[in-house]
Amino acid sequence: MKVASLTSSELAARLSRVGLCFSIGDFDICLKSPLKSLADAVLFFYGDYELCEDGKFIDFRVEVAPPGVIRHWFRPQVNFSFDGLKPFKPLPQVQAFAMFEWGLNWVIANNAHQFLVIHAAVVERHGRALVFPGSPGSGKSTLCAALVTRGWRLLSDEMALVSLANGLVTPFPRPVSLKNASIDIIRSYASDAVIGDVIHNTAKGTVAHMRAPSSSVEACGRQAVTAAVIFPRWQANSASSLIELSKGQTLMKVAENSFNYNVLGVSGFKALADMIECSKCFSYSYELLDDAVTAMEELVQNG
């Protein structure tokens, strides 16, 4: 039974009372919130996700709620909490869905230590996954969104989950976070991309989310083998350029982009070294998304 099988009012009631429990990849999440706007956003972005069966163990219980009654009347705000802990300062209520997304990232990065968690987007085609680590603004989400609109499977926009048990990348498909200019770039690149409300003046600038394709959500139980690790970089007036990196340098750069490499110790090192050993490693600069998509297609086809 999927989230979309609930009516808007059923979903809002469940969110505000017991919490809405649904599965995202390997994780079962329980979200509680009294906000109607968040209920609408969850229905819009997470309609294709499976509801958890009653009594199922929930991995993470989170809440997105206003801080107090008085503040409701004056510039309303919202808090994110996880097991009663509030890791962030409150944000304007209009940013409630974005805060849920950012909060969930924080929860996974700080708690899912059965994985090496890398700050990276991951897409897959022909059974071969491409991992795009990168700092904010490097263009990884834009490239990821463009590939997904061309039929690639979305594993994650924000974090690559490398299983410590088998070295495979575990899908965690969620809405793709587009920022600033990339919102209009993706709108014009793919008119069928499903993009939600644009939120201005966030800590990350202007933000909008693109819905994960249903096919990626349905395939969220299927892990993938990493074929290449690519550091993308959008650059104005530059030709598409794929430059091979040494594996040692790549390991160091990916470790810097990992959320929990330092927590995992030797198991993190082994998982990362195994992944890098079996992958090709590149830096990739591009200006035009068409060129980038073609280059990535060629990369997975040519092995």
Binding site: K247, G248, L251, M252, N262, G265, V266, F269, A273, I276
Partner: protein
């Protein structure tokens, strides 16, 4: 997170190990230092679990660390193994490199002298 990039062959820093290294000197990995060494393409990466530090080491220095990580070896033995791989005929060209590289590893605490045979 501790990440350490080493470019041993190009390092200009002089290290003092306290002991001079001779061809007969046997070096080993310190017992307190649990080291995991992997060769990835032309690079070597080493993870030191006690300090959670990852080192990127250029070859052939990485090979020396990998060999010593398997068993204590003398400078001479390390030089011989290196000569086999790089196919250099003159040992006198290789021994100074091995000594200076081992000195750097010793200074970093990744190797220690097991015994020096007089």
């Amino acid at each position: 997170m501790a990440l350490c990039r080493l470019i041993l062959v190009r390092s200009a820093k002089s290290y003092k190990t306290g002991d001079s290294l001779l061809p007969e000197t046997v070096v080993k990995i310190p017992s307190a230092c649990c080291l995991y060494v992997r060769t990835l393409g032309n690079d070597c990466v080493a993870f030191e679990s006690a300090s959670s530090t990852t080192h990127l080491i250029e070859q052939p220095a990485g090979l020396l660390l990998e060999w010593v990580n398997s068993e204590p070896l003398s400078i001479m033995k390390l030089s011989d193994r290196l000569i086999e791989i790089v196919t250099i005929e003159h040992r006198e060209d290789v021994i100074p490199f091995v000594i200076s590289t081992v000195q750097k590893f010793v200074a970093m605490g990744l190797m220690e002298i097991e015994k020096t045979v007089a």
